[in-house]
């Protein structure tokens, strides 16, 4: 999968392109395929997202998983503060990053 990620301009929150807009949840990430550059340029110009870029990912049984650890940490939140992550109730959430 060619998935797109960036930060919300106003809040800075990590977001993922879901095919029609930007979601806080990596599981919503859509495959941008060959349209990645077009979408990124359009969405940045519209101020829907800032510092956006494309990364490799794959669809797994547990959902969408970015290929690189950096994006997995962006998707989850800091592994040392799971209470602030998107899965605060899951004590094992950090293992997903490794």
């Amino acid at each position: 999968m060619n998935i797109l990620t960036g930060n919300d301009l106003k809040t800075g929150a990590v977001t993922w392109w879901d095919g029609s807009g930007w979601s806080l949840h990596v599981d919503d990430a859509a495959d941008a395929g060959a349209e990645a550059d077009t979408i990124l340029a359009r969405e940045e110009a519209a101020r829907h997202v800032v510092s956006a870029y494309a990364v490799d990912g794959e669809k797994t049984a547990e959902g969408v998983r970015p290929a690189h650890i950096k994006e997995r940490i962006r998707a989850l939140g800091p592994t040392v503060r799971l209470d602030l992550s998107l899965k605060p109730a899951d004590p094992a959430a950090g293992n997903w990053v490794i």
């Binding site: 301009l9 800075g12 990590v14 101020r47």
Partner: protein, 542 residues
Amino acid sequence: MYKYDTYDQAMVDARVAEFRDQVHRRLDGSLPEDKFRPLRLMNGLYLQLHAYMLRVAVPYGTLSSAQMRVLGDIADKYDRGYGHFTTRQNIQYNWIKLEDAPDILADLAKVEMHAIQTSGNCIRNISSDQYAGAAADELVDPRPYAELLRQWSSFHPEFSYLPRKFKIAVIASATDRAAMRLHDIGIEIVKNDKGEIGAAFYVGGGMGRTPMIAPCINAFVPLDQLVTYSEACLRVYNRYGRRDNKYKARIKILVHELGKKEYTRQVEAEFAHLLTQGIEPPLAELERIKAQFADPAFESGLTDSVDRSDPDFALWVDRNTAAHRVPGYAIVTISLKPVGGIPGDASADQIRLMADLAKEYAFDELRVTHAQNIVLAHVKKADLHALWTRLDEAGLSTANLDTIGDIIACPGLDYCSLANARSIPVAQKISERFAGREGELGEIKLKISGCINACGHHHAGHIGILGVDRKGVENYQLLLGGSEGADTSLGQITGPGFDEDGIVGAIETATGVYLANKEGEERFLDTYRRIGMAPFKEAIYG
């Protein structure tokens, strides 16, 4: 403490208004990101891994209680209830919203603080000795000189777009507690043979991907030429520093490539020219600043004795207090390194508590240390137990200063967009593994960076750890033998790296080698320097 005059306040207030307008224009679309980015960075606002990050300047690490209280309030009001004290004596907030940033800067300006020059290729926050004004071994208080340089370097038009960022440290003790020789310019206030006070200039130090120890280029610059000499050092760098290659743009590369002799020759020539230009502020200005760093109202005739009947308290006194130059007082370091905790993090409540305790016990003043702890510089020994009790109730009484648990760690890949590996989980594992062995292992300075930029000072650790990315997997290199003190040295890599658990095991092995070879009162570093790398390498890699 230095108090803003009307010029200082007007400059900071004007910057808040200017940035408010810039943020407004960014949000309404009239200012594109490529134009806005350098403007937000000039105000300390980065876009990090999870959100915007705001780095607030704490000049030479000194804070009033009122300022510290506002830092705690900002953590609650605009962030997620905590702040992170950094290796440059600043504080960072990790979850800032762009739309809130102008209001935060306005809150800071009300207590004479800002985030100006905490990013960008300019002269950054000037750091100093966290024991300034209190240390028993100090020649003079270095902070008035740091403040003079802060004023000189703030909005300096010639040095706002240097080849790269520029860091200055000022100390005035033979014991270097500020890693002075690992700065772009390290200034040591010294006394010459005639008994005059002046400044020794060390130029071209730094960590990062090419660590260098700054050589002394002038052992005595008269105090009434301090700014002029600094200007000369910067001018030569600004003129010849490499702008074509970011990785070779720091002054350490210029000094190294020109050689100390030629760089010094050029600085001296520029200095001679600048002396004719009358740029040095009058000494009266330095005296005006000095008056604001006058001693607090120390009491005389106080006792030096401390009731040590509580063993936990006695241990904390032994580990976390240092000699004060005034009888009856002690310097207290509050460790922000609880066992298994995140180095340098403090909750909003803890920040406000430390502010209150400073007001109550330490003449209304705190210091941030480059080792990511907080210092109360002037505490009556008679008050130590009461202070410790309050700290203990808030989880702030960890007795581990300068031990293996007192780890410097950068935010690493958990927060930083530049990082290659996480630092904090490694620090937590080491802290937990060695908890309770601090006495056995003695002084060990352990420092962890999550990438080659070395914000965690790994080159200067007795034990250093560098996180790298090996084909998408975190890997940790081990370094031994670094030091940031008066005996500054750079750590050497032991060999191939380890995974997260492996690096903890390697440190266990290295400390075992130390204990097996230790002679007398040797510290880990002393033993390493005496026996060399080979026994450590042999034990670690077999």
